[in-house]
């Protein structure tokens, strides 16, 4: 399984162009959108919103980097590499779990330097909180990778996957607390709030902010237990249930 993970990491590093573009995207979101949008809130909260937004952008990036593994699957299917992987002396479980974990780790490699910059901007309030938040974010990244793999093998079409993930990203990111606090979502619409409350991006965003200490401005919660439980459940669903589903499709030749 470690070799499957290694392969995915090596492949990711080969896509330097994507890594550079993603970093530019982050810089643009923070330097342009973040700075300008934070001027729209009351002046005394502008800096806090800016930090809030930067933390949200990190999670958005982690999400999109974790989704990337699904696109890899289509590229591999196009080049026939899928058949090659299936013929190797590796069990299906190791293969799928390895890919899910590899997808999660490599998204952390991409987001790692950005998290470091973010911590530099925001400052580090409590290292223990951050450690708990990071562990949860790892689970979030693995879960999103597992979800992306599951959707990829279910849809079996690169074009459909691309459109579906575009729509899903629009829903899952916009209806989360990545860019705005839950209270504002609640004010806007109850249904939005319900969706946002049970959304892995919300859990990840809240936990990261809690880990970095930003959340203290927003809630009085000493420990976002609901977010931790939510991420763990999400991870289990898409890593283990997703893996089983994926494995069944692979064994039956359902990827063809």
């Amino acid at each position: 399984m470690l070799l499957v993970i290694e392969r995915d990491l090596r492949r990711f590093i080969q896509f330097k162009f994507i890594i550079i573009l993603r970093t530019i995207w982050f810089a643009a979101q923070v330097a342009f959108f973040g700075l300008i949008a934070s001027r729209m809130v009351v002046p005394e909260l502008a800096d806090i919103y800016f930090e809030f937004y930067v933390a949200g952008v990190v999670i958005m990036m982690l999400y999109s980097a974790s989704v990337f593994i699904g696109y890899d699957i289509f590229e591999e299917a196009e080049h026939g590499v899928f058949e090659y992987l299936l013929s190797l002396p590796v069990s299906r479980k190791e293969l799928v779990l390895g890919r899910s974990i590899g997808g999660g780790i490599r998204s952390f490699i991409l987001v790692g330097p950005i998290i470091a910059i973010t911590l530099f901007i925001i400052g580090l309030a409590n290292p223990l909180n951050l450690l708990v938040a990071f562990s949860a974010l790892f689970l979030f990244a693995f879960g999103i990778s597992g979800m992306s793999i599951t959707i990829a093998v279910t849809l079996k079409s690169g074009d459909r996957f691309d459109i579906f993930m575009g729509v899903l990203s629009a829903l899952i990111v916009r209806l989360s607390t990545a860019m705005y606090p839950q209270a504002f979502v609640q004010d806007a619409n109850q249904a939005y709030a319900a969706f946002s409350q049970f959304n892995p991006v919300t859990y990840a965003s809240d936990l990261f902010r809690w880990g970095t200490g930003i959340e203290r401005y927003l809630t009085m919660s000493p420990m976002p237990l609901a977010a931790i439980i939510g991420i763990v459940i999400f991870f289990f669903i898409f890593t283990f249930v997703g893996v089983t589903f994926y494995e069944k499709r692979l064994e039956g030749g359902g990827w063809q």
Partner: protein
């Protein structure tokens, strides 16, 4: 001793029966040629036996393992050289082979040694750091073949190893396949090249429309065509009816065609045994031979004999299946 045994192996893709109740036995240490036109079911058979896809019906025992029940164990015994190289465009030959060797469990030292040795052997050492997308079709194929040479699996499935390879390269790859067999691997060679199957295989199975039509050594298959061997004899004198009758009396002779009174075409079996007797007959009859030419049937003739089609015609029909 059989290392692969298939029992009514069947694979159906919607309305298409790609492999139809295939029952065959492959012995340990042999090169088994799976011969047939494109669309005959060779690659599907290879993918089923290597557990990449599941059969619809039937099963196979590979090594001591059932492909349905113990696919993980089967994969530890096998290696595949795919028809189309399975390589990601951003990788380099070194990356591909080094990772493949790791997955196949080679130690670091052995891996480095073998990857270097094989890359040199397939003339890819100088190109080892080039991206795959910058390599020619032939180079990619050599990298694909290199995988299996590094792995040296107990059972090697090699699917069309010399497509896109030039004549010199073909002979090199054939030698490598023989070396692989000599090192202890059993080789299943799927090919639509009749000559390749003939020169490499210990036994050949001819597949057509998912079915195994016939399976034996190339020589036995050729001998199975009645009158498949041809001897063309040019005499210095006209042949008499008595000599012709005596010639037709040989049990191996199927037909004697008198092209001209001094030019005969004899259709027979077991040419190597009959020709000395034919020469003696003409000599004893005082008929000097000015030239003699022998030809054996090819596997192409065998294919025509069993299917009624040339391999090209079968391919055209197979594509419209």
């Amino acid at each position: 001793m059989a290392i692969i045994q298939t029992i009514d192996l069947t694979k159906r893709f919607k309305d298409l029966i790609a492999v139809d109740k295939l029952s065959l036995s492959i012995d340990e240490g042999e090169i088994f040629g799976l011969l047939g036109p494109n669309g005959a079911g060779k690659t599907t058979t290879v993918l089923i036996l290597s557990t990449v896809i599941k059969p619809t019906n039937g099963t196979a025992i590979v090594g001591d393992y059932d492909i349905r029940k113990d696919p993980d164990d089967v994969r530890k015994l096998i290696g595949i050289c795919f028809q189309d190289p399975k390589l990601m465009w951003v990788s380099t030959p070194w990356d591909v082979l080094n990772w493949h060797a790791k997955v196949c469990g080679l130690s670091t030292r052995e891996r480095k040694r073998r990857v270097k040795q094989v890359l040199e052997h397939v003339n890819m050492w100088d190109h080892r750091r080039k991206r795959i997308h910058g390599l020619s079709g032939g180079m990619k194929k050599r990298v694909e073949v290199a995988k299996i040479l590094i792995q040296r699996p107990k059972i090697a499935f090699i699917d069309e190893p010399t497509s896109q390879i030039d004549v010199v390269g073909k002979h090199k790859i054939w030698n490598m396949i023989r070396e692989l067999r000599d090192e202890g691997s059993t080789i299943i060679l799927a090919t639509n090249e009749l000559y390749e199957a003939d020169v490499l295989s210990d036994r050949v199975g001819i597949m057509h429309k998912g079915k195994m039509l016939v399976c034996d050594t190339p020589k036995t298959l050729k001998d199975s065509i009645l009158g498949g061997d041809v001897v063309e004899v040019q005499l210095e004198k006209k042949v008499s009816n008595n000599v012709l009758d005596e010639l037709k009396g040989f049990k191996e002779v199927v037909e004697v065609v008198v092209v001209k009174p001094d030019d005969l075409r004899i259709h027979l079996n077991k040419v190597e045994k009959v020709v000395p007797r034919v020469v003696n007959l003409f000599s004893n009859a005082g008929l000097p031979i000015s030239s003699i030419r022998m030809s054996e049937p090819s596997l192409d003739d065998v294919f025509v004999h069993y299917t009624g089609l040339t391999i090209e015609e079968a391919e055209q029909k197979g594509n419209s299946r």
